[in-house]
């Protein structure tokens, strides 16, 4: 008897279940019923910015991704008083729970966002044909920060590195001798100049396509200075065609200074350091011509180079020149390595000026670089180990927020 009842109630439940399920589905289609509103709305200053933005966060509506799953978007509304008129400031698709209300920094701008002023916010969950609003959050004030916390790792890195450089330089000043290992590209410089002298043919020095302020170009200026001094001693002609007017001006000064150091200012000829054009391939077309017509014995390509690197290196090889290259442009290093006789790879180019000059102060800076490199390598090794054991602390040390 009791079992029978149980069975019939089970049947009834089943029946009801299959009746209710489609019904509930039909009801769910009815979007006129507003979704549950977003909750826990919070508004506050956006951190680490210039003070023209407020960040709003909320907890998703019950129908977003769950429940009836019919929320399509959230609208963010703003007012200057909790009871005043709220205007729509922006919209984000469903699934998002933050919004940055940003505005322009100029007072004249239509979309100016005043700092140091109270604002109130509401968030509206929208379905296709209805919506519901959250409670009012605020007041929130936008203000600018004086230090970007997310950039703290960079700050620490900057400070640490500066201290290291200064420390090594002061060691160098005190007369400490530093050892640096030999670099093939540097050792080849003297031979290359000697070769040009023996053959009685000129040296071609290309500073690349960089501006006078690119670090690669600056490193190249220092090397040019040393080489110019040596060519003055050997009475060898040096030709420096330039791609940038400012680079040309500095190159003229640099070579002149080199000749002065060698005690041969009379031999300096300004017409050998000249400007061609700033357009990459036109410049290369002209340099190609110079190589073949002047039959340069030695070509230096030191600085910033782009696609033209291989055109230069191959034409130089047609002309039978010895070629020494160096660049920090990642994509071009392979071509120089393959097609020139010696290549200074990336960092070696910057180090070259210290190598050639053997100035203790520059060598000191080089030592600081090596120390920093050792720290980086240690961090890499420890970091990878830590990551293998799902230990995320190390990664955080290097994570920079923009």
């Amino acid at each position: 008897m009791r079992y029978k009842n149980l069975r019939s109630s089970l049947v009834l439940t089943f029946f009801l279940f299959f009746l209710i399920l489609p019904l509930s589905q039909i009801l769910a289609q009815d979007d006129t019923l507003p979704p549950p509103p977003p909750t826990e709305v919070k508004a506050g200053d956006t951190p680490n910015d210039n003070g023209h933005s407020i960040t709003i966060t909320w907890k998703l509506s019950g129908d977003d991704g769950a429940g009836k799953k019919n929320v399509v978007a959230y609208e963010i509304l703003r007012s200057e008083s909790p009871t005043g008129e709220f205007v729509v400031r922006g919209m984000v698709p469903a699934g998002n729970n933050t919004y940055q209300d940003r505005g322009a920094k100029e007072k004249e701008d239509k979309n100016y966002f005043p700092p140091h002023k109270d604002f109130y916010y509401k968030v509206r969950a929208k379905t296709l044909n209805s919506y519901s609003e959250s409670g009012v959050a605020g007041p929130a004030v936008a203000y600018g920060q004086w230090f970007h916390i997310g950039k703290l790792p960079v700050f620490v890195g900057t400070l640490a590195f500066t201290i290291m450089v200064l420390a090594f330089i002061s060691l160098a000043r005190k007369g400490k001798e530093f050892y640096v290992r030999p670099l093939a590209g540097i050792d080849a410089v003297d031979d290359a100049i000697g070769r040009a002298t023996e053959m009685g043919r000129p040296i071609l020095y290309i500073l690349g396509l960089g501006s006078a302020a690119d670090i690669a170009t600056i490193a190249s200026f220092t090397i040019l200075n040393r080489i110019a001094k040596k060519t003055a001693e050997h009475k060898t002609k040096i030709i420096v065609p330039c791609n940038d007017p400012i680079v040309m001006s500095v190159a003229q000064e640099t070579v002149k200074a080199g000749y002065l150091d060698a005690g041969r200012p009379d031999m300096y000829k300004e017409e050998n350091i000249f400007y061609l054009t700033s357009m990459q391939f036109a410049y290369v077309a002209a340099v190609n011509g110079i190589m073949l017509r002047e039959k340069t014995a030695t070509n230096f390509y030191l600085g910033k180079f782009y696609a033209e690197s291989l055109i230069l290196a191959e034409t130089g090889s047609v002309a039978g020149s010895i070629q020494i290259s160096g660049t920090d442009e990642l994509a071009q290093i392979p071509f120089f390595v393959a097609a020139t006789d010696f290549t200074l790879i990336g960092e070696e180019l910057y180090a070259a000026s210290a190598y050639l000059g053997r100035e203790p102060l520059l060598l000191g800076a080089l030592k600081a670089q090596d120390l920093a490199k050792a720290i980086v390598m240690l961090s890499l090794a420890l970091g990878a180990l830590a990551a293998s054991f799902h230990f995320g602390f190390f990664l955080k040390l290097f994570t920079v927020q923009m």
Binding site: N48, D49, N50, K105, G144, W146, F147, H148, K151, V154, T158, F161, V165, I169, S211, A212, I215, I218, A219, T222, C242, D244, P245, I246, M248, S249, E253, T254, K256, A257, E271, F274, Y275, L276, T277, S278, F281, A282, V284, A285, R293, L310, I311, E314, D328, L330, F335, A338, A339, I345, E347, L349, Y350, A351, L362, A365, A368, Q369, A372, K373
Partner: protein, 215 residues
């Protein structure tokens, strides 16, 4: 004055820009953009230096009847052709349909594209010359280049289709690009970063000052 002022300007501007990087508060947050603009403006002035130098060198060649002087007239012609038309057209000088655009499209572009495409020939001759298995390093260079070159065209498919999926040339290419290539690039990049940071410091501290040299 001649030496100290430039070094002081470099140091003050440089260190200020480093400090400003950490300050989001106005007006400092825009100072970096402003200094970048200054950089471009100065370069825009400096272009006179370059062009005058170019014209002078070529005028000298014509005047002194140096070897190949007629070509210097061509340089002058080309320069003034572009400058006159460019200023005549005004601000919309590069809009399609203008004479300047025609000159760009029919003179500048083909010359530029051809010079660029010469690379195809040089890539071939450089590979022939440089990719010899002289030692271990050169052999690695050579093999990696061969694999990638073949792996990127249908030809590589024919060569390696007998291999199981995942071991074909195309897959090997992808693997090399994804892992060893990434590793090497990172090592170079980190080295470059340290080098640039250190060189920047040297410049700002006035240790590397060839750029301000002279009398």
């Amino acid at each position: 004055m001649r030496r100290e002022v430039p070094l002081a300007i470099t140091a003050i501007v440089g260190f200020a820009l480093i400090i400003v990087y950490f300050i989001p508060h106005p007006p400092f947050n825009h100072s970096r953009d402003f200094f970048e603009d200054l950089f471009f403006i100065i370069a825009a002035f400096a272009i006179w230096l370059g062009c005058l130098n170019l014209l002078k060198v070529n005028a000298d060649k014509v005047y002194l009847k140096k070897k190949g002087w007629p070509f210097s007239i061509v340089v002058w012609f080309g320069f003034f052709l572009m400058v006159i038309v460019g200023f005549w057209e005004g601000r919309g000088f590069m809009n399609p349909g203008t004479t300047f655009y025609y000159l760009y499209d029919k003179l500048y572009y083909p010359l530029n594209a051809t010079m660029f495409s010469i690379l195809a020939f040089f890539v071939a001759s450089a590979s022939y010359r440089a990719f010899r298995a002289r030692n271990k390093e050169a052999t690695i260079l050579l093999i990696a280049a061969l694999f990638v070159m073949l792996g990127r065209v249908p030809f590589g498919y024919y060569l390696s289709s007998w291999l199981p999926e995942g071991w074909r040339l195309g897959n090997i290419t992808d693997w090399i690009m994804d892992f060893p290539q990434t590793a090497a690039q990172r090592a170079i990049m980190i080295g470059i970063a340290l080098g640039i940071v250190s060189s920047s410091l040297r410049v700002l501290l006035g240790l590397e000052r060839t750029f301000a040299s002279g009398e």
